[in-house]
Symmetry: C2
Subunit: 466 residues, 2 copies
């Protein structure tokens, strides 16, 4: 595909559409941040950045780009980890972060209508003030809701509440050719043709640009309790999780963490974690509407853990104590990042009873390749976050080791009937692993769908299956 | 599209694939039931029916049909209401009802793996014996799970638990060209390319044939209580529902019913309903793990209803009493059908706070057109089931009135930001209304997706967007 380079006429047209020079950036004016995302392994500067405020602007730019075969990459707050928002073919970056209005809360239908640039933390806070609850809870709270929908973000509470997809009722989407589509709405059920909404969710900005979303809300649970449970080893901690699931208790979240991650977070935040004397921990939350309801649930789980060799059970029932634990959990990624020179990540998801086996395997790789590997993640839903750290390795050794270690990890993920990504997406960085993981016929179907939406391949080209 | 007619060579090939003459039916041998579904408004006999037992058989037949441009229509137990399983172009019907094995229950991952022909009632019973729960609960329990996935069936418990889509973790699908795809799996999260699984859910057998499904299970709630609440009028009953939603109580189900439907069910079942003296009722269920948890929830709702003019609140806390109420609710469709000569249905879904307005409108239509209209449905999720009854009308008057009444209903549905179908699907019968309801650009996208899966348009042609 031959893409057109941006020239003076293109810039002039885009400025005329936006009618506000302050929101169009060209050449030297473009902040370097637009060339990469949070992990930064892939970098490329866009030719022009447009900070949009309205769906109409997105539509007009897309229509123009489509006519002229100019690549367009949509971007939220750039907290992605797989390069999905990096304009690898240059062209236009549409920055949606200023489309950040909360448009409506509808308490009779339990929906929230938002623009795509609203930050996750703003949504959580806003709905809580109305005694309502938006359950998806990824660690990165400065991500935009548009980005969360595009990766089908999951987060910690997926064990009980599911993932972002389960909370998207309706979308407004601008197609690659500039057409504006309304998908779904405030309705609870919908069997009216193919679910294009569900195809857009998790499509990483390659099929359309989300310009509005109707989210489903739940009543806010009145109480929550967290349990921090130390174990003598990571294996013994993780092997307890399938027993918890099998016991029919319903925790909101089950996270696992190693001492090294906790210590790194303590240093990073300058705050002490309630306990960091053991090798490994499970961190669980239970929520509900009464103390009794939650207690019945967690007492059962506490006993299962103690029987499985847990060293203790620390119960946090005040908001303050829970906040201190979960803020440390939320800082793991940043803390690990701060502890090394460069890193890359694996976001594999496996069936819940295979987590222990997978983590054990990463420990073997760590020894075999003599490279630092850190992990934490969602033991309760099988989604692992594994970080391979460069530390003092030279460029060549790092690249080589990283590639080999990753190959081994994704291979083992496939053997365990896992998937390449639980919630971070494929973007640019994970494309080779997606292709190895899925049947060629399935990749062909995905390419066919991309063609149906974007025959000129101008919207976020070179990502996911392309 | 010119389709090939079945000839002796085709029959010979199919018999050779199946290697069991008893499972292949041709011409006179074909039961008339294969020409229609539950509502029977559209009829057409297939040229050949194949009762498959294995994925491999489905794959071979599809490969052959694809090569020879023979239309194929997949069928479960034929309980559909929109003609989706009717072979309107003749050709092959693949009957999946004998692929009815429950393959595995995995209590560590809370999944159930089934073949597509397993009946919903068998799943409900089987998982309950393991103290587990498959929440989707459409009235028609003799539907197959394959059919439920293909219409994204919702049912009564959608208020609290969502719809079928929310419980499909993985699928095995045979594509129109005979390729076999594995989608998803036992994993809880998945952001690995476009969600083809979610595209197949609700696609009514037009994109692929589901040959296996991995379903998500929940722990079985330990207790349930039903509330039957009489109101002086249907409007006052339905207008209470948004107040219940707004109160942050979480009922499992909120159904509305009119006296006429109850009386018809009483006659049909030969059993008395606990109360049928009032004009209208709300029927609610609450479930949970303790009496206290449920009580706190329903007492609040009972008070809201009484304040809103409810005449009484009947509480059913024994399994026996609840069974008697819900079996009557389950018989509404059959009872209405038995009360008339012919009927057609509207399965529109509107935002929950628009249900009262819509129902009021159907009452106006009933008077204006002097035609009997009966309704019941899921007040808690905005999905209405409205039946237009022929009674003694002559053919011409019936056709004319039906068309006009339907046009008006779907128009009002659109005005209220509703969708054509909440859970029955589009199939053959609702295609014109889908086309009126959605933007042409959206229909174009759907057609493009169909083309990507099925360029020869041989799989269930003439359905949904085609």
């Amino acid at each position: 595909m031959q893409y057109k380079k941006i020239d003076a006429a293109d810039i002039e047209y885009i400025v005329s559409v936006i009618n506000d020079k302050e929101r169009v950036f060209v050449g030297e004016e473009i902040n370097e941040d637009y060339s990469h995302d949070e992990l930064g392994a892939v970098k490329k500067m866009p030719e022009i950045v447009v900070k949009v405020l309205e769906t109409k602007e997105v539509s007009k730019i897309m229509k123009y780009a489509y006519e002229h075969s100019i690549p367009v990459t949509p971007r939220g707050s750039g907290t992605g980890l797989v390069g999905a928002a990096v304009p690898i073919h240059g062209g236009i970056v549409i920055d949606l972060s200023a489309m950040n209005k909360i448009l409506e809360i509808d308490e009779e239908n339990l929906t929230l209508t938002v623009e795509p640039g609203v930050l996750l933390m703003e949504i959580l806070k806003f709905v809580q003030e109305h005694d309502l609850f938006y359950p998806p809870d990824p660690g990165e709270k400065t991500a935009t809701i548009g980005g969360n929908i595009n990766t089908n973000a999951g987060g910690m509470r997926a064990v009980k509440y599911g993932v972002t997809r389960d909370y998207v009722r309706g979308l407004e989407v601008v197609l690659p050719n500039g057409e504006i589509l309304e998908l779904g709405g405030k309705v609870v059920k919908n069997s009216s043709g193919y679910s294009i909404k569900d195809l857009i969710v998790g499509s990483e900005g390659t099929l359309g640009i989300i310009t509005k979303a109707v989210l489903r809300l739940l009543p806010l649970p009145k109480k929550a309790v967290s349990l921090l449970i130390p174990f003598p080893s990571l294996e013994s901690a993780i092997e307890t999780v399938p027993k918890i699931i099998k016991s029919k208790s319903v925790p909101t979240a089950i996270e696992f963490m190693q001492r090294s991650a906790i210590v790194a977070a303590e240093e990073f935040l300058g705050k002490k974690f309630p306990d960091s004397s053991s090798d490994a921990y499970l961190l669980l939350t239970f929520d509900g509407n009464s103390k009794e309801e939650i207690e019945a649930n967690y007492e059962n789980v506490a006993n299962i853990c103690l029987e499985a060799g847990a060293l203790d059970v620390f119960i946090s029932d005040t908001e303050e104590r829970q906040e201190s634990i979960w803020s440390a959990r939320g800082a793991f990624l940043e803390a690990i990042k701060a502890s090394t020179t460069e890193m890359d990540e694996v976001d594999v998801v496996v069936p819940r009873n295979k987590v222990a086996e997978f983590i054990k395997f990463t420990h073997e790789l760590e020894k075999e390749f003599n490279i630092r590997i850190r992990s934490f993640g969602h033991a309760g839903d099988g989604n692992l976050h594994i970080y391979i750290l460069r530390d003092a390795l030279d460029e060549e050794t790092w690249k080589k080791k990283l590639l080999e270690v990753m190959e081994y990890m994704y291979k083992r993920g496939r053997e365990l009937n896992g998937q390449v990504s639980g919630e971070h997406g494929i973007g640019f960085a994970k494309r080779p692993y997606l292709k190895e993981s899925l049947a060629p016929e399935l990749i062909t179907v995905m390419k066919g769908i991309k063609m149906a939406f974007d025959p000129k391949n101008i919207l976020n080209p070179g990502k996911v299956c392309n």
